[in-house]
Every structure is written in structure tokens, then in C-alpha cells.
């Protein structure tokens, strides 16, 4: 059929359809006037129309969703069919207990020890993700160290065809979620269960294990009223929620709360209604985050209502960040005042205002219990007895606790530039490199905020006192020290100084062969971490303990390359750099790799160097594949290298336009090193690309906290604000940051032309980089200085003949000048080169 024929057919068909069904056939006969083919065609379509199968009635999405549901059910059934009655390792699967986001749970018999256990299988998506699997094993190992009556014991982990599984204690009873079901529990029970949970948390936190996802669905209450906490640390695995080991008669929860429980992709780990503010903001969390979740659980037990009710996860998160929950006593007058005070304190927005330890919360609950009973409860006396014994024992052996644990309050730290004691100015780069790496090592400790090297470097030759520096950088402590290198021997001396008091807390000197330089840095970092008594997670401890030996010459070349790249890349945030440094950096990294082809750091450096060329030196099509290959190789060599993941993230984001992959890489980098500015900046970059400006601003805020003195940067906050059209704010921030380029652009956008031109004048002098100059030219054009803009443009275009320049920036100037044709021609160029 051709379009003309179709028009004929459809016109008759549509007219026929207007008539009542009985008279259609006669109408078609008349309308086709003897054209047999036409008549057959129309009648055939007419009969299609009259089929009662509701073809296309429901939108495609609804059908696809049904498919997704069916597939899931099919998968579950298949898995169940294959598993029931089967033996996996030495477990015989008996029946399905429950299932959910975190996998399916079966009752099984341990055929060796002849006891019943619960087997939990990971959900399919996770079982196929090698990294998630690795984390799953490590977390299970860590959690298996917890042996406590109020913690569901982990017996074993294993592998089967159905993926990896955990064998754990089989619990009888029901989840707290089921117990609550919208109705408050008696205050006595609230306190009783509360103390069990506090006990469990106390033990876990003492072993540096955070739960991360405390919620009623993760707490099991036995018939006898004993509470057990489930799924320690599992929330960290997939960002999905931990479902419970439920006994058979337990209803499978399908209410809206469960829908909310599903962690939103792109959201922080944990379950929205019970997440602490710091967890929502993606900040490092510690035991106090668990205390918050615990507070939310206490609230829900006491009132029957969630502490932070909301329709969507986003709304709930917003409420947690900004609103105080309604008074529990208002919702349930039976709640004693003392219990309300405990709940309120646990739910403080600021971690420093909450209970600092589960023990303290437990002590207060005990007091509440005493008040409620009107007497000192028997249980409490019994519980206090062993404690007394311990205290007596300690007092006898150690006289008393150390009275001042000041170092325990250190949460932020700056590594000041280590002094080069080698007497050779040529070795300066080496001392700086050591400073940088020590900073990076400490940065991997999630409980610490570590000021980036760039900001710390400002104090290289400073006469300021430690308290002064600490105040400017807003840190609790600083690390000072020196590096001395003689041949292949290195000596590092480091000391930790408490900032407000200038008190020396710790000092030590290390001497090693250059080959073991990385383990030396790790030792120093680990010593500092333990000195400030932050809790290292098991992964952090592993990471700090497994430094590989390096080839000294290769490492030296790497440090040189890094130095070149960093000359213009403050804080690891990519800025448009100068040509010579980048080319030198590439050479250095290549030299490092010629010496040691397995140097993953050098590969990551190489990736960054290639990437940096792509805005103004070489076309992305030329350098980005190289950057990608280098980053991929770095990850292949060392999957735990945060720098490499961030480097790959940038390529995925700006060149491959593979946003999910970019997000994965940046998040992995941040997980490996929560203090890596490059990773935060990259993640912000990603968020902006997806239009999530507010989140991006938060992310860049974070960069600013790590790196308060970050100079004007390509990706900085002012630039972001400008692009988000928040000009007033952009002006304000650009002024503080001394970013004349953005200041000029923003002022011009606000119509404050004179000031804009003044700022542009300053900016034009500060850089030779054609991309920066193009942006300044755009500011001139928009402020009405068209001649100036045109002069600059011709200079830039002259440069463009010699090297690649991101066409988009030039196009913008033309657009400001109203020259659409040129603008499009440059855009086209940018597009052809796959401009990032």
C-alpha cells in the first residue's frame, strides 16, 4: 500500500466507524463503488476493529510493568522449585520463609550439626555484581564476629548455584514492624525492647561495626519478648533494604511503607524513614547515625506512627533534614516524659547533640524503667552487677581510666606540608608528594574529614601558629612533620597536634626503604587514625594494611607527573590547565609505566592527563579513548584505587555519555575514599549533567569543606551557580573565591555592565587559556563591549588553527554577539569532535 491508497482506505474506514455496526457493511459497499480490492481492505480492517480484545487500550508501560512482575515471580518460583528439598553445601532446604529486596530466606537443616538455620540468598542482581559480592563476604565476616543474644548470629557464608548465601540463626516470632502495625506498644515493652537493641548496638559499635539500616523490619521479637537485631552492615551492600528472616505465618508485607523502603536508585544507603540527616547528606557516618535510626524506631514503637511520615522517599528525606517530629506524648499520652526525652535526644539532627554512645542511651532507658516501676527493677540490679565487677577490676588494675580522652574528639584533620630535610631543593617534590599521599591515606578513613593538600599547601612557608591555621581550615588537629631522603632510604617524622590547645598528642619517626614507601605512609596514617581513636571500618583497615611495594624510580616519576598536573589542577578538581604542564605530566607518567608497567596510580594519572587535554588541546575523539584505556587498566591492576574509578567516571560521563556507568564509578570512588575532591567534583559534574543542580551544589559544598581554599576552578561552585542562573548568589560566591571570570559573566547577566567589564578586565589578564578567554569574551559581549569581544575572538580563533578548542565555548561568544551562523558552525565543530 502507498500513502495515497491508505488515505482512501482510512477515510472510508473512519466514516464507517461513525455509523452503527449494523449499517457499516452496506456503507462500505457503496463507498467502494465496485473497487474490489479497496472493499476487501476496508472490510478486513473493519473486522480488526470489531475484535473485542482491547488492543492498545492499556498503555505500553502498564504491560511492561506486568512483564516485570511476571518475570520476578517466575524467577522466584524457579529458584524455589530448584531449591526445595535440595541440599546446598551441608544444608537441606526445607521451606521458604520470606523474601524481599535483600533476597529470599529459607528454613534449612544443618545436616552436620543437626539444627535448623535460616539461609538467606542474595538477590540476583547483586549476585552477578562481583564488587557487591566481595563486599557481601567482607560484611558477613565482620558481622559474624558479633556474638550476642540480641543479635541474630551469623553461622556461615557459602556459595551455591543460586548464588552466595548466609546461614544464620533461625528466629521464631515476628518482626517489630509486624508487632507495631500502626499501634503503639506498651511503654514497658518499648523500654524492654529498647534496652535489647541498645545492648546489641553497644557490642557492635565496640567492634567498629555499624548497622546502617536500623528499622522495625530489621528487628525480630521472639515470643518471649526478646529482641534480635538482624542484618548488620548489609544495608551497605546494595543500597537496598534488608528484609527479614520471617517465620512462616508472617504476612509478606506489601504496604506502601515497603514501597518507600525500596531505596531509590541514586539515593544514599539505608531506608528513608530511619536514615540520619548525615546519612541523607551522604556525609561520613559513625555510631551516632545508628543511634538516630534507633531513636526513630523507639518513636514508632511508642507512638505507632513513623517519626518522619511522608508520601515519597524524597519528601521523607526533606522532613528528616528540616523538621522536628511531633511530640510522642501528644500521639500517645501513655508515653512517660522521661521516655519522650530519651527519644528526643536520640533524634537530634546534630550528631553531637545526640547520645554519643548506645551505652548512654541504655542507661537512660534503664532509668525510665526504674521510674515506671516506681522502684529499682530487679533486672537492672542484675544487669548492673557484672558492670560493677568490671569497674572494680579495672579500678584495681589501672587505678582509673585515662581522665582526658581529648584525642577522641578529633573528627577533622589537616596534614601540613612535610618539610624537606634533604637539603636538596630538588627533593621538594618528593616531600610534597609524601604530604599528598599521607593526606590521601587519611582521607580513606570515613570518620575523618581531611583537608585537601591544596588548601594545606598554602601554609607551606607560613608563620602562622597551629591554632591559627586550624581555625582557618576549621579542623580539630593537624599533622606536621618532615621527610628526609638519602639514596633509597626515607625517614618520616610525624606529629599530631591538637589544634585549639597546640598540645602534642603523638609523635613518631619511621625509617624505611624507598621500595616500601606506600606501607610507610599507611603505617603513619593508621597510627594517626588510631591515635585520634576514630573507628576504622574493617574495609578501611584492610585497605590500609595492604600496601603493595613500589618501584622507587617509577614512583618518583609518578610524583613528578603528579606535580606537573597539579600545578594547574588545584585540589584534584579539573581546571583548564596550561599546555606544557600537561604534556610534561604525560611524559612523566609514561616514564613511570616504562619502569613499572603495573603502576596503577601512574595509569590513573595518565588518564587524568589525557582527559585534561580535551577541552583546549586535543579533540576528545583523539584523547578520550586513551584516557579511558588508561583508567580501565588502572582499575584492572587495582580495583580499590579511588583515583582510577574517578578518572574512568569522567570519561564515562563526558565522552561515552554513559550516565549510569559514570555514577557507578564516582560512587565507587567515593566509597573507597570519601575525601577525594576529584571524586566529589566528578559526581557533582554528573549531577549537573542530569539537571540535579541542588544535589550538585551539596556535593560541591563538600569539596569546599575538604578544600576550603580551593582557588577558582572550572567546576567550582561559582560556575555552577552561574549555570544554574542563580546570578546573585554566583556573584557573591565568585567574589569570595576571587573568580573574576564567573563574576564577570554573572554581573553581565544581571545587567551590571560596568562592574562586569571591570571583572572581565581582571580575568582576561589572569589566563592565557583560550577556553577561559572565550568565556571572558562572552562576558564582554554580554556586557555590551562587543568590540573587545570580537578582538578576543579573533585571537582565540587564531589559536584554534593550531590546536583543538572546545567549540561550544566559542559558539557561546558568537551567540552573545547575535551571530547565529557562526555560533552554529562552531557548535557543529564541537559536535563532530564529540565535544564534552
Amino acid at each position: 500500500m502507498n500513502p495515497e491508497e491508505w488515505q482512501k482506505v482510512r477515510s472510508i474506514l473512519e466514516s464507517a466507524l461513525e455509523l452503527d455496526p449494523a449499517s457499516r457493511s452496506a456503507f462500505v459497499d457503496r463507498a467502494c463503488a465496485g473497487d474490489k480490492n479497496l472493499r476487501t481492505e476496508v472490510l478486513s480492517l473493519l473486522s480488526e476493529h470489531e475484535q473485542p480484545d482491547r488492543f492498545l487500550d492499556a498503555p505500553a508501560l502498564e504491560m511492561v510493568r506486568q512483564h516485570a512482575v511476571e518475570d520476578q515471580r517466575q524467577r522466584d518460583e524457579d529458584a524455589e522449585q530448584t531449591l526445595l528439598g535440595k541440599k546446598i553445601s551441608h544444608y537441606r532446604i526445607l521451606q521458604k520463609l520470606g523474601g524481599g529486596g535483600m533476597g529470599v530466606v529459607y528454613k534449612a537443616e544443618d545436616t552436620r550439626l543437626h539444627r535448623f538455620v535460616a539461609l538467606k540468598f542474595l538477590p540476583e542482581e547483586m549476585a552477578q555484581d562481583a564488587q557487591a559480592l566481595e563486599r557481601f563476604k567482607r560484611e558477613a565476616q565482620a558481622a559474624s564476629a558479633l556474638n550476642h543474644p540480641n543479635i541474630c548470629t551469623i553461622y556461615d557464608i557459602g556459595e551455591s548455584e543460586g548464588g552466595p548465601f548466609i546461614a544464620m540463626e533461625l528466629l521464631e516470632g515476628s518482626t517489630l514492624k509486624y508487632r507495631i502495625s500502626g499501634k503503639p506498644l506498651s511503654p514497658e515493652l518499648v523500654v524492654e525492647i529498647g534496652m535489647h537493641i541498645a545492648d546489641a548496638l553497644e557490642v557492635a559499635h565496640a567492634k567498629s561495626i555499624l548497622h546502617r539500616d536500623i528499622k522495625p523490619a530489621n528487628i525480630f521479637v521472639s515470643e518471649r519478648g526478646q529482641a534480635k537485631l538482624l542484618d548488620f552492615g548489609l544495608a551497605k551492600l546494595a543500597g537496598s533494604t534488608a528484609e527479614t528472616v520471617a517465620s512462616k505465618d508472617l504476612p509478606t508485607a506489601t504496604d506502601t511503607q515497603d514501597a518507600l523502603d525500596l531505596t531509590f536508585p541514586g539515593a544514599r544507603m539505608g531506608t528513608a524513614p530511619y536514615m540520619s540527616p548525615e546519612q541523607i547528606r551522604g556525609e561520613p557516618i559513625d555510631a551516632r547515625s545508628d543511634i538516630f535510626g534507633f531513636g526513630a524506631v523507639l518513636y514508632e514503637m511508642a507512638t505507632g506512627k513513623p517519626a518522619f511520615p511522608g508520601e515519597t522517599s524524597a519528601q521523607i528525606r526533606e522532613i528528616i533534614l528540616t523538621q522536628e517530629p511531633a511530640s510522642p506524648r501528644k500521639l500517645n499520652p501513655q508515653v512517660p516524659g522521661a521516655l519522650e526525652r530519651v527519644i528526643t535526644k536520640a533524634l537530634k539532627k546534630k550528631p553531637s547533640e545526640r547520645y554519643q554512645r548506645a551505652t548512654d542511651l541504655r542507661a537512660d532507658l534503664l532509668r525510665v524503667q526504674g521510674e515506671m516501676a516506681g522502684r529499682w527493677p530487679r533486672r537492672a540490679v542484675l544487669a548492673a552487677l557484672p558492670l560493677l565487677v568490671v569497674l572494680v577490676g579495672l579500678g584495681w588494675r589501672f587505678k582509673w581510666f585515662r581522665p582526658n580522652l581529648a584525642a577522641g574528639n578529633i573528627r577533622s584533620i589537616a596534614v601540613l606540608p612535610l618539610t624537606n630535610l634533604s637539603g636538596d631543593p630538588e627533593q621538594e617534590y618528593f616531600a610534597d608528594g609524601m604530604t599528598e599521599e599521607l593526606t590521601t591515606d587519611l582521607g580513606q578513613v570515613s570518620a575523618l574529614r581531611v583537608i585537601s593538600r591544596t588548601s594545606a599547601m598554602r601554609y607551606k612557608k607560613s608563620n602562622k601558629t597551629v591554632p591559627e591555621i586550624a581555625r582557618e581550615l576549621d579542623v580539630d588537629a593537624v599533622v606536621e612533620g618532615s621527610v628526609e631522603r638519602a639514596g633509597n632510604q626515607v625517614r618520616i617524622t610525624a606529629q599530631l597536634i591538637e589544634a585549639p590547645t597546640d598540645r602534642h598528642l603523638w609523635a613518631k619517626s619511621y625509617e624505611r626503604d624507598l621500595r616500601d614507601i606506600l606501607s610507610l605512609q599507611d603505617d603513619v596514617a593508621q597510627a594517626i587514625a588510631s591515635e585520634v581513636s576514630v573507628k576504622l571500618t574493617p574495609q578501611e583497615r584492610i585497605r590500609l594494611a595492604t600496601a603493595r611495594p613500589v618501584n622507587p624510580q617509577a614512583h618518583e616519576a609518578y610524583l613528578h607527573g603528579y606535580d606537573e598536573l597539579r600545578k594547574h589542577l588545584p585540589g584534584g578538581v579539573f581546571v583548564a590547565s596550561e599546555r606544557e604542564s600537561i604534556e610534561k605530566a604525560v611524559e612523566y607518567f609514561q616514564r613511570a609505566l616504562a619502569i613499572d608497567p603495573n603502576d596503577s596510580l601512574a595509569y590513573a594519572g595518565l588518564a587524568d592527563a589525557y582527559y585534561s587535554q580535551s577541552t583546549f588541546l586535543r579533540a576528545p575523539l583523539e584523547v578520550m579513548p586513551k584516557a579511558k584505556a588508561a583508567a580501565a587498566r588502572a582499575i584492572e591492576l587495582d580495583d580499590t584505587l579511588a583515583e582510577a574509578h574517578a578518572s574512568l567516571g569522567y570519561v564515562k560521563l563526558t565522552f561515552d555519555w554513559d550516565w549510569p556507568a559514570a555514577e557507578r564509578e564516582f560512587r565507587r570512588a567515593l566509597e573507597l575514599n570519601p575525601n577525594l575532591p576529584k571524586a566529589h567534583a566528578g559526581y557533582a559534574h554528573y549531577l549537573i549533567t542530569l539537571g540535579r543542580t541542588d544535589e550538585a551544589i551539596r556535593e560541591l559544598d563538600r569539596v569546599e569543606k575538604i578544600d576550603p581554599l580551593l582557588p577558582q576552578s572550572h567546576m567550582g561552585l561559582p560556575w555552577l551557580l552561574f549555570n544554574a542562573r542563580r546570578y546573585e548568589k554566583a556573584v557573591e560566591v565568585a567574589k569570595t573565591n576571587g573568580d573574576d571570570r564567573v563574576l564577570a559573566l554573572s554581573l553581565a547577566a544581571l545587567g551590571r555592565s560596568e562592574e562586569a567589564v571591570a571583572a572581565a578586565d581582571r580575568a582576561a589578564k589572569s589566563s592565557q587559556n583560550p577556553v577561559i578567554l572565550a568565556q571572558v569574551a562572552a562576558a564582554y559581549a554580554s556586557a555590551g563591549k562587543r568590540d573587545k569581544a570580537r578582538t578576543m575572538l579573533s585571537a582565540i580563533e587564531a589559536q584554534a588553527k593550531e590546536r583543538y578548542i572546545c567549540g561550544v565555548n566559542v559558539a557561546c561568544v558568537y551567540a552573545q554577539l547575535g551571530d547565529k551562523e557562526q555560533a552554529f558552525s562552531w557548535l557543529e565543530k564541537g559536535y563532530l569532535a564529540r565535544s564534552d
Binding site: L17, L45, F55, L56, L61, V64, T689, L827
Partner: protein
């Protein structure tokens, strides 16, 4: 680099609504990313007891994106228009990978698949890949009709929304839809062989 130039470009070309293709290039990744994220999220919910409305989904994406003034979508109608096309890509892609997974899982499953026993055109279960191809063929006969099906079936637009978006009368939309639907039904049936 990307966000800067992305912003800059969308700023530069904010009048995509006037037919500027370049600006569309900038907006597409934002909308696509958001829609795909939302669609996956909702598909993963697996709650058979509540229906998922395409328009609600698209609206959610719109609200999230339009809040950011970096997105210069001229108005809701334009947004719905882009969204319908993107939803078509997203959903067809989903079904394609689903089919590939089934093929991998072996033939036993395949026979249970796609409601063959009820015919390929049964209201509840349609072969989206075949429909996608048929829609392309329809576009060659009458591109407006193909667009109407795209808007209604993939974009979830009502007759009224569709007519407003295309600047047609509701009765025209209704008529075009009916004949297109009959034509597509026959295409799918014939492709699937005699039922």
C-alpha cells in the same frame, strides 16, 4: 567541559521550542536519564495491585527537571511530546533485553512467553518489538497517525492531551487512532502468522 557547555548550550539555544534541533540534543539526555531512572524504579516495585500511569511518571520526571531552571522546556506539552518518544525507546529496549534474557534461559520459557495462546494482539499482552516496527511502517503511510499512537500508547496521553499537543480536534485524533489501531492490529496478527 560537559555541564558547563551543556548549560551554556541550553542557555544559548533556549528556544528549542521554535524548532531548534541542537537544543533538543541537550535536553534529551536530561529527560532520558530521568525517565529511565523513574521507569526502572517503578518497574522494580513489582506491585501488581497498583497501576502505573505513564503520565504520572512523565509528570514526575517533568517536575523534577523543571524545578531546575537549567532545563528550558517551553511548556508541559512539549515535554510530553519528547517524553512519549523516549518512553517508546525505553520500553522497547526493556522488552528487547527481556526477550534476550529469555532466549538465554532456554526454549521452555519462551513458549510461556508473550501470551501466544491468546494471540499476539491481545489487549493485555502485545509484542512491543513487532509493534515498534509496525509503527515505523505506519509512519511511512501517515506519519501523523504513527505519532498519535506513539503519544497515546507510549506516552500515555489522553485523546484531549494528544489533540492539544498536535493542534488537532479531539474527534480527528479519535478517528485517526481508531483506523491506525485497526491497521496495527492486522499487521501484528499477520506477522505472527495465522492465529
Amino acid at each position: 567541559m560537559a555541564p558547563d557547555s551543556a548549560m551554556q548550550v541550553s542557555e544559548l539555544l533556549l528556544d528549542w521550542g521554535k524548532g531548534d534541533r541542537e537544543a533538543l540534543k541537550e535536553i534529551l539526555p536530561l529527560v532520558y536519564g530521568e525517565l529511565r531512572r523513574l521507569a526502572r524504579h517503578h518497574l522494580r516495585q513489582q506491585r501488581s495491585n497498583h497501576t502505573l500511569q505513564t503520565t504520572a511518571l512523565v509528570h514526575e520526571a517533568y517536575l523534577r527537571l523543571a524545578e531546575e531552571d537549567s532545563l528550558h522546556v517551553k511548556n508541559r506539552a512539549h515535554f510530553l511530546g519528547i517524553a512519549a518518544q523516549l518512553m517508546r525507546w525505553i520500553l522497547v529496549d526493556y522488552e528487547r533485553s527481556r526477550r534476550a534474557a529469555k532466549r538465554g534461559a532456554g526454549a521452555t520459557r519462551l513458549t510461556l512467553d508473550s501470551g501466544v495462546e491468546q494471540g499476539p494482539t491481545h489487549g493485555g499482552d502485545i509484542d512491543l518489538l513487532a509493534l515498534n516496527e509496525a509503527l515505523d511502517r505506519l509512519a511511512k503511510l501517515d506519519s501523523q497517525q504513527s505519532r498519535i499512537v506513539e503519544l497515546r500508547y507510549f506516552g500515555g496521553l489522553t485523546v484531549e492531551d494528544t489533540s492539544e499537543f498536535l493542534g488537532l480536534s479531539p474527534s480527528t485524533v479519535h478517528r485517526s487512532w481508531s483506523s491506525a489501531r485497526a491497521w496495527l492490529r492486522r499487521e501484528l496478527r499477520q506477522r505472527a502468522g495465522p492465529a
